[in-house]
Amino acid sequence: MNKLVVSGLSKHFGSRKVFSALDFELSSGESMAVTGPNGSGKSTLLMTLLALYRPTRGSVAYLEDDRPLDDDDIRTRVSFVSPYLNLYDHLSAEENLKFFATVAGGNVPGKDIDRLLARVGLEGRGCDLVAGYSSGMKQRLKYAVALLKKPAYLFLDEPTSNLDEAGKRLVTGIIEECRSESVIVIATNEQEEYTLAAKQCRLGQ
């Protein structure tokens, strides 16, 4: 059982308060949508949860069977998809997948890469440089990277940005696939995506 425990979390940039005193707890099988107007701090909250920003106050704890996880453990259990996260344009999709699998401490056989690319609708395009991909194809490839591991914690920032209808169905499918065993946090402004999560945390109120 994995848990994400957030206590009294605040983030300020200088004198500007982005969010303050957030408390919530999510366990495996639970999901939460972070909502709010533009600039309300949705992406900042995700970056803070991922320890990419240091909180001004409060804490974020990742637990597995009530045992706190260290940074290395967290890295192997977390997947993140965001418009701010880019893959390497001058590598092919296959090279990107192999690289991220290796630095994460695993390896991926060729057939698994083909299966992953087919899963996100990029079959037959694995050898193409990512620079030649459309923005929607790049977004799909980010999901392939996220699915290299079976994420215990799945963080999605604007999960369907740049995607067509088929792409949106793909994202819904991935969330449903991960729902039973993962902690899922989705930052979004899209009303239809609120329903992808059971709980809601509204920022900027």
């Binding site: 240091r54 996260l85 893959l87 390497y88 590598l91 290796t102 695993g106 991926v108 079976k150």
Partner: protein, 227 residues
């Protein structure tokens, strides 16, 4: 994804191989380094001619060219990650130690390639005495390792700044000053044909500098890289 026992070495090699592949496809850093090195070298040799310059002056000129060539290209290894917004994916996936080691290996390769091209041209253009070649190569090797070990960490620090180029040289210079003075001193002695016995103090300093810089960089990198 099946987990294996991939340790620091294989992860660092993956970062290194990725950077090398990107460099071979884009030529961002090597073009900058080589253009700076060769144009500076040409200007120095054309203005001074083959006029039998003193070894001390030749040693200083050589390391000035090496220093500024390094400044023109070694920061690319982190700047490219920040500018292309790929640093985020790397931060989430890879551990900082393997990133630092992979980036250091890449910068060493870049400087080694640059040195292999610049050094023979320097000797031809300036008619510098060859002195003790084996000892010169040892000093050169230690100099390249020292330059890369210090500048790789500084490159990570400046990658997020808005005025990267100027900041890289400004922050690197104080850290590299003792290294450069020692390198000039050692190269001067080597070009005069002196043996290892008379350069041992400098060689010891260069080894110690590289070991200390790499150790300190590995310890500090995770804090620089994280936020």
């Amino acid at each position: 994804m099946p987990q294996n026992s991939a340790g620091l070495v294989s992860k660092a090699l993956a970062v290194y191989a990725k950077d090398l592949r990107l460099e071979l496809r884009t030529h961002y850093a090597i073009n900058a380094i080589l253009m700076f090195g060769i144009t500076t070298l040409a200007m120095v040799s054309f203005s001074l001619g083959q006029s039998g310059l003193q070894p001390q002056l030749l040693a200083a000129l050589f390391w000035i060219i090496m220093f500024f060539s390094a400044m023109s290209g070694l920061a690319h290894v982190f700047v490219r990650e920040e500018e292309a917004n790929t640093a985020l994916a790397l931060k989430i996936t890879a551990d900082p130690d393997s990133i630092y080691v992979g980036k250091l290996l890449f910068n060493l390769t870049l400087m080694a390639a640059m040195t292999t091209i610049i050094t023979p041209i320097f000797f031809i253009f300036t008619d510098a005495p060859t002195g003790n070649i084996a000892l010169f190569l040892l000093v050169l090797l230690l100099g390249v390792v020292g330059l890369c070990s210090a500048t790789t960490l500084v490159a990570a620090i400046i990658a997020k700044a808005s005025v990267k180029g100027a900041l890289f040289a400004v922050l690197s210079f104080p850290i590299l000053m003792t290294l450069l003075l020692t390198l000039v001193n050692a190269t001067d002695k080597v070009l005069q044909g002196r043996g290892i016995g008379q350069v041992s103090a400098e060689v010891q300093f260069l080894v110690a500098y590289a070991v200390i810089m790499i150790t300190v960089s590995v310890l500090l990198f995770k804090f620089v890289w994280k936020e």
